[in-house]
Assembly symmetry: C2
Homo-oligomer: 165 residues x 2
Amino acid sequence: MEKKKLKLQYIENKNTRRVTCIKRCNGLLNKTRELSILCGVDVCTIIYYPNSNVAVTWPESEQQIKKIIFEFENKPNNSKFDRQFDQKSYLTQCVKKSKDKLDKRREKNRELDMENIVTDLLNGKPIEDVFFGDLNDLLTVINSKMNMIQHRLKLLHENTTNNPL
Amino acid sequence: MEKKKLKLQYIENKNTRRVTCIKRCNGLLNKTRELSILCGVDVCTIIYYPNSNVAVTWPESEQQIKKIIFEFENKPNNSKFDRQFDQKSYLTQCVKKSKDKLDKRREKNRELDMENIVTDLLNGKPIEDVFFGDLNDLLTVINSKMNMIQHRLKLLHENTTNNPL
DNA sequence: CGCGCTATTTATAAAAA
DNA sequence: TTTTTTATAAATAGCGC
């Protein structure tokens, strides 16, 4: 049943689309209900079935839906349009956060690259084939690995000494 | 990381609830977006964060949300309240459907019970310990298993004959 | 059509960092 | 506390009846 990874685009095949629609509508309403119960949040979901005049909703009661809509339309501090901070500092913050994340990713990628190189070496790749620029980082990785190994050996030793079973 | 099966009830622990809320709000908005894109459905989700005046929504644009709400409030054949059939026959139908489902479940459970008994027997439980009332069903299960085995043996034989690799 | 199944993907609870 | 990771539960695509 070779289920392929979801491509997020309009499903052209009519029947497939219908089936998916039914499944996902149920899923969505269920998720809405769960969020409401688990976290005590005011939440509503309204779905219009295509080519029909039928709307399905959660909560199911028309009254409750109207209450939530009413709140939405009348709350002064509505939605995300009204921030506690001005637009510029908000954006600055966002950019900084993204940069930090990117840096972490890069670091992580670099580590993984190094691990791959180590694996290649262990599999017989000659050290001469490693790019010169990688050698420094490689050394760092190897040192850190050595430290880990020594640390674990020490723990193991302590364990064996204290619990000589 | 023993994640237990979700108990659908208000999460008392404040921190747990907050974390769950953030995750599930994101999940819910994402599911809403996916349904909309995959199936081309008009759909919206509105969430009020607890203890705040902030609402998060999908679609994000206030204009689009208002459009969907407007539809909801003005469509004549709104929602499930307007059925094509009268209430009584609808309920009768529902009850019958549920009963059928229950019967199927019972049957399935019975099968699983029998399989457990077979397992116990194979593990050395004496046949005398099996309840008398179960013996008949047990025989049925065993016969069906035997048929399956014979069927597969047959297939295997055909395969070997046709493709004598 | 709608149900049930199952391989996979996705979501997420809880632990670790 | 927030973030990341990990392991498990839940959703669901594709298929057959």
